[in-house]
Amino acid sequence: MSIRVQEADFDLSTEIAALRQARPELGAVVAFIGLVRDINAGAAVSELMLEHYPAMTQKALESIETQAKQRWDIDEVLVIHRVGRLLPTEQIVLVAVAGAHRGPAFQACEFIMDYLKTQAPFWKKEQTPDGARWVDARSSDDAAAQRWTQDLP
């Protein structure tokens, strides 16, 4: 279990190699990479500022990872979330899950993203042609997280 919150970018190959290191029983890795889009809610986005609540971020992500490991037969989890100033096309978040088989790895990776989106204390503020604005939470993210409370594996 590994959680990192950082301003720096990350390299996908390096991170996945570290996750897999010396684990020849692993058969499947599922990775989600979130990117800064150049458009959101109908406006051009030139820049994103990501704020968080450090003490709670760590605790919330650890809780989400623990829940994923309790629910699915997976071996390794990595979450990296960037904070600070980000530009369109930059990587924001990496969630990688490794295990023997692909089904649990897919499920756990999507679960972690859905919970991160609704429970981890990050907030985005974006620069648009009309000025800076805080990004509104999406009801579709609540719905995505809600699925997991009904759909027990």
């Binding site: 919330a60 981890a120 907030w123």
Partner: protein, 85 residues
């Protein structure tokens, strides 16, 4: 007998405040009490904290509800729904 209250993101900007100490009182013992106490500070506070849907509360870094009890030394964070990932 005091709480540390933290404000994040849009709430911090609207209130112009990132952190303050608030004394516990006989009628201020839960998250719901604290929200009512803050809303009573004036129209700006009422507007920022008035809608239950736009304010989330964490007590000691765990998401909390209106009936969550508050005790001396608690860190209470108020923030809008999260938008990370």
């Amino acid at each position: 007998m005091a709480l540390t209250v933290l404000y994040f993101a849009r709430l911090r900007e609207r209130l112009g405040l990132a952190q303050e100490g608030i004394a516990l009182q006989p009628n201020l013992t839960s998250v719901g009490d604290l929200l009512n106490y803050l809303r009573a500070r004036g129209p700006q506070w009422q507007a920022a904290l008035g809608d239950e849907k736009v304010v989330r509360v964490a007590v000691n870094q765990d998401l909390a509800q209106n009936d969550t009890h508050l005790k001396d030394g608690d860190e209470v964070a108020l923030f809008p729904p999260v938008t990370g990932g």
